[in-house]
Symmetry: C2
Subunit: 400 residues, 2 copies
């Protein structure tokens, strides 16, 4: 297992720093142990793989990447062990950022990975060869089941494949999950009868952490098609337990809430491609929401592409569907597909609900844009046959 750290440090002390990481994070200090015991301990020690100076950072200081190899035997297969060992103490040691994590397949295989993944989500939704459209509830809190059901129906009628709760929807005063799930399932059924399109509902999985598996099963039994999950505040080990549970047979849609506290600083924390890419896939997310490079809540474009690569590259686990989010409008769909291909989720809120024709027209505009892009048609041409798309292009313009 190789971890790469980007440090800002004195050029002269890089070698010593690297040695300190390799030993200090694995076996601790041990050079004063008796020789026979040193041999036993050495098997668990890390090793400096490489030190690469990237650029100057003022007098005597440089930005450098330090790569450390860790013996797999040090870890026990929980994220707690992985994170504590590779970035426990070290996270507190000045300007240091975990920028890459390279796991051998043998080690990665100890983690569940996605139960459904991109292929499984496509099978369950029946959407084969185009990006899926995901629509976000707005203003969930404080609205009752009837009100939210009408809101769900409007999005479904416009052709949204997935409809997800707002991730901040924890409150259960007005519309607890056990009440809204069956109501939305019935609305989805009715819309399917009326239009032939079946929308899938991702309900926010909330509540005490040790009750989540039971609640997930109950919500799936009540008709939830997928579970939205705030995996960062609840913990990757919790996500993993959900993914590993054979009785939870619905996809896990992972929200990046609070992840910016870890990935957003330039010289600290952990890169988004590790946290929301590599680790999320190991833990078993099926769809990964992450900040798009197009909107206001942005992620560095290169880091975003590395994130998507981590979700998809060949390995022991199924590929995860990327869902770049924030600031997505129909005019951006060509750019999205250019960046990610068709194997992604177009995730929108404001540009669905803010459509002058309402949420149904908002979703329909996206579906027209998606159909056009897949058919190789220009959006302007497609808009001639789609009034909702024409209105959306008029309001939000073309993509970057």
């Amino acid at each position: 297992m190789v971890a790469t750290y980007r440090v800002v440090d004195s050029a002269a002390s890089l070698g010593k720093r690297a040695e300190g990481i390799a030993v200090g994070l694995t076996v601790g200090s041990w050079t004063d142990l008796p020789a026979a015991r040193q041999d036993a301990v050495r098997a668990y020690a890390g090793r400096v793989e490489s030190i690469q100076v990237l650029e100057d950072a003022g007098p005597g200081r440089v930005v450098a990447d330090i790569s450390i190899g860790y013996p797999a035997a040090t870890f026990t297969g929980t994220f707690a062990s992985l994170l504590t060992i590779v970035f426990g103490k070290l996270s507190m040691d000045g300007e240091i950022r975990l920028v890459d994590l390279s796991l051998p397949d043998r080690f990665a295989s100890g983690f569940p990975g996605p139960k459904f993944g991109a292929v499984g989500v496509r099978q369950r939704t029946g959407v084969a060869d185009r990006p899926l459209l995901m629509s976000i509830f707005k203003a969930c809190v404080g609205r009752d089941v009837a009100d939210l059901t009408a809101h769900f129906r409007a999005q479904a009628a416009g052709g949204a494949d997935l409809i997800k709760d707002d991730e901040i929807f924890f409150n259960e005063d007005c519309a607890p999950p056990e009440a809204r799930v069956p109501a939305f399932a019935e609305a989805a059924r009715q819309v399917y009868e009326e239009t032939g399109h079946r929308a899938h509902y991702a309900v926010n999985l909330t509540g005490p952490v040790y009750g989540l598996r039971e609640r997930a099963k109950r919500l799936a039994e009540l008709g939830a098609d997928a579970l939205l999950f705030n995996a960062i505040p609840y913990g990757l080990d919790v996500l993993r337990e959900l993914a590993e549970d054979p009785d939870i047979q619905v996809p896990l849609l992972i929200h990046p809430a609070t992840s910016g506290a870890i990935y957003a600083a330039p010289h600290h924390g952990m890169a988004a491609n590790i946290l929301l890419g590599e680790l999320l896939r190991l833990a078993g997310g099926d769809i990964a929401i992450y900040p798009s490079p197009y909107g206001t809540v942005t992620l560095d474009r290169a880091e975003g592409l590395r994130l998507v690569d981590a979700l998809r590259r060949p390995g022991p686990h199924r590929a995860v569907l990327p869902a770049p989010s924030a600031g997505i409008f129909p005019g951006l769909v060509p750019r999205l597909v250019e960046d990610l291909g068709v194997d992604c989720v177009v995730n929108a809120g404001g540009a669905i609900h803010g459509h002058p024709g309402g949420a149904t027209a908002g979703a329909a505009a996206f579906r027209s844009a998606i159909a056009a892009v897949v058919a190789g048609q220009d959006l302007a041409d497609a808009a001639q046959a789609s009034e909702p798309l024409a209105v959306a292009l008029e309001k939000w313009g073309r993509g970057v």
Copy 2:
């Protein structure tokens, strides 16, 4: 519930930004809902409490504190709901750092808080009026039970009150917790018979997240005196479940591993006083390890004092014992007590094991220093009656 964010932003847009936070993180956009529904939703909306400009940050830009009040009804009492709502999306929104969190007692009472706290830990260890001495195992991984037991015994014989595993001790090849706990308990008993001093062992609680409660109970039954817990990678909601479980009747010693990924950047993430202070206490930690301002792994001194204040200030929960760590040697004890008072844990590893006389002398040197400080005696005077302390002062010097 009032959250304060430190942002670096355009001076002109601060008001709009604050409004966006207050509404966007609670009920989402809702101004286009029908008037009757707006009233229902308004009860759950956040409110801008204050905007305070702190300093200039380049042309047109300032550093400012934005305080937002959130209605308690928005939260459901999990850390996942608290963190997702106050810093979910927002954590990804540019240069923004959560610097303060002020919870009304009524809301805080919904969290368990420490089961033992400072008072309870003192009762269990029988240490009434002086700082406790905690000693850290070194080089745990790869050593067998007999070897580690000898290591435990050496620390105990020197007078360590608490002896804790290294937080990276996950591996179970050579000395699984179920084997070492009874061995160390027996060693502690023997040392007590020989010296009258009883050391307490904090075993690292590891393994799959949904098995932690059962394992905690098993280890306590086997004789573990306390549980070391990596609460940040496992999750605060998991810590809370451990603290709330009436069958887990041993203190929880919380390690800050990986917390630097969240608190260490200047303009992102969450202040240490919130993460390792406020939230840790709500979740039920009994002893809080955090980076001391004296060593190499440092935390800003003012942030460290705010952290300790969060652990102790009057409120609905028991006070937590602070354990500033990294770079602690006997000569620092006067400074430590000056900063924190006697209600703290002196936590040391290198300056115990690196003592020329061995770990027993290393621990004894600390105990002499602690006794001197409590008696108002100068360390140099105390060293005349304590050879271990004299050697330690010679090797590491006096504190800053």
